[in-house]
Symmetry: C2
Subunit: 336 residues, 2 copies
Amino acid sequence: MVNVLVNGIGTIGKRVAHAVLLQDDMSLSGVCDASPNSIVKTNLVEGPLAGVDFFVSDSSFKKNFVGSGLKVKGTMADILKKVDIVIDCTPAGVEAKYKLLYKKKGVKMIFQGGGDKSLSPISFNAVVNYDKSFGVESVRVVSCNTTSLVRTIYPLMRSFGVDYVNASLVRRAVDPWDCKEGPINSIVPVLSVPSHHALDVQEVIPSLNIITQSVKVPSTLAHVHMVHASLRKNSTTESVKELWECTSRVKVLDGFKSTGDLIEHFRDIGRLRYDMPEVVVFGESVKVIGRELYWTHAVHSESIIVPENIDAVRSMCRLEKDGFKSIIKTDKSLRI
Amino acid sequence: MVNVLVNGIGTIGKRVAHAVLLQDDMSLSGVCDASPNSIVKTNLVEGPLAGVDFFVSDSSFKKNFVGSGLKVKGTMADILKKVDIVIDCTPAGVEAKYKLLYKKKGVKMIFQGGGDKSLSPISFNAVVNYDKSFGVESVRVVSCNTTSLVRTIYPLMRSFGVDYVNASLVRRAVDPWDCKEGPINSIVPVLSVPSHHALDVQEVIPSLNIITQSVKVPSTLAHVHMVHASLRKNSTTESVKELWECTSRVKVLDGFKSTGDLIEHFRDIGRLRYDMPEVVVFGESVKVIGRELYWTHAVHSESIIVPENIDAVRSMCRLEKDGFKSIIKTDKSLRI
């Protein structure tokens, strides 16, 4: 049994902590945060983290919790002594400070894709480099966009070979709960070519020739990627769909017209928070013309990297040697 | 002097009618519509069409105007006798009915890109096929998306050669005044590959190898296209930008981050209705890597095809044999 701590109970942290609770080979030692905001309180009092021990990330934050109604068991420094691995889900830019503490306490560390690449030498994806992460001290689970591209493209590389990929990313702007940021009405392009997303994918698959362009739009539900891959072997629309249908964490769905009706599907089937950790390919959008493959998929940024975090724990803590066994175990526990 | 009638005073018609008023070789015989809605009344009473003769598109619509305060000079059938050419800006699907009347009255006809391809055998763009339209009876001015792609790609074909183009279209959903349609929060992909936009471009440039993918997003300001063109000759980022900088109706603008600050530019420089009939390339987005060219441009759907309509009149009515002279004349009159 591996003892896991989650630092940062925001969009990612609250989901990852819950996912840890669902594993039979991991124990959630506790969760940490800096302030008793509505997300922290909801999840620890009435939500799926009710009963989990709470620690302040830093002793200087103790005063924030006076009168909050949240019971603080201690500081992160205290609990880290009893922890094997910490999953850092603090806001981008903040992790570097905590990294020093994690190292000092000798715990393994998982960072998220929003953070700087320098946080860890390994950019983790469960399918591509589970082996490489086996027993290591730290990984950075790559971002939602990167994860979706790696999941769809990597099986294509193995089955058909891929000459190059051009992907156009249409990114929802913010999390649904976030009322601070825009845009309200604008379309906001990333002006550098490639956008950083191509470089992120190459952190996981260095041999892949990929260019990305990207815009941000006034939507909160999910990103949409329009992708073109030039394949090395002949294929058909059907064979590509079949390949993805038997690929873990890729879901091909027909009959959906938008991110709106897609999310409604996940509400209707009763997923907690309507989470969609699979990358969902719009079935009708898949088209092979000659050796050129086109498709459009949707990416639920809030949840897509949750299962990857669980697999990262399993690999780093030597709980399971075979990456595919870990993926199957994780997916079963999360009912993916 | 050519006598022009504009049928349909909506988003396109009100702009095209005003543009006709600004030409010294055309006379606006009148404008027609079916109902005294707020756009029709604003433009004919206080707006740029004040003083222009108004006719009901069909006598059955006369009753709509009783008590409206708008003076109806007669029916379209009456005025068509004195008209050389009609620019049809009625809603898509409605034009077919009027086409019968235009033909019966022997007037030349211009249709818009939203209408069916069968309306006319010629898909018009001023740069590509002005000559082909010389003296003809009808053309269909292609849509905003098509126009922007043709304007940017055609000069590339002539200067560098183009092997193929992949364009990802991020379309604003509706006109700013339109409160009926969505989406509010969804991203809505076109599931067929290619989306119809590639076929539309090929109506103008049949030899072009182009694939388009497309989504609709909750924005009203302008479309944004992320484009990749594979060039046949070596080029540089600078040479492509220089080419576009001396291309009519293409504007390369540096220092803009979104469709929002782009439109603010056109508000600040005092353009009527902040119109942007140029396709605007985000300067920093232009990038040549090997023979691959990438760029992002913005398309003001409301106004981009206005100058094309004016050139179409000039070509069809044999007012000017040289397409480039017509373009210069039009652009000067519209202060483009």
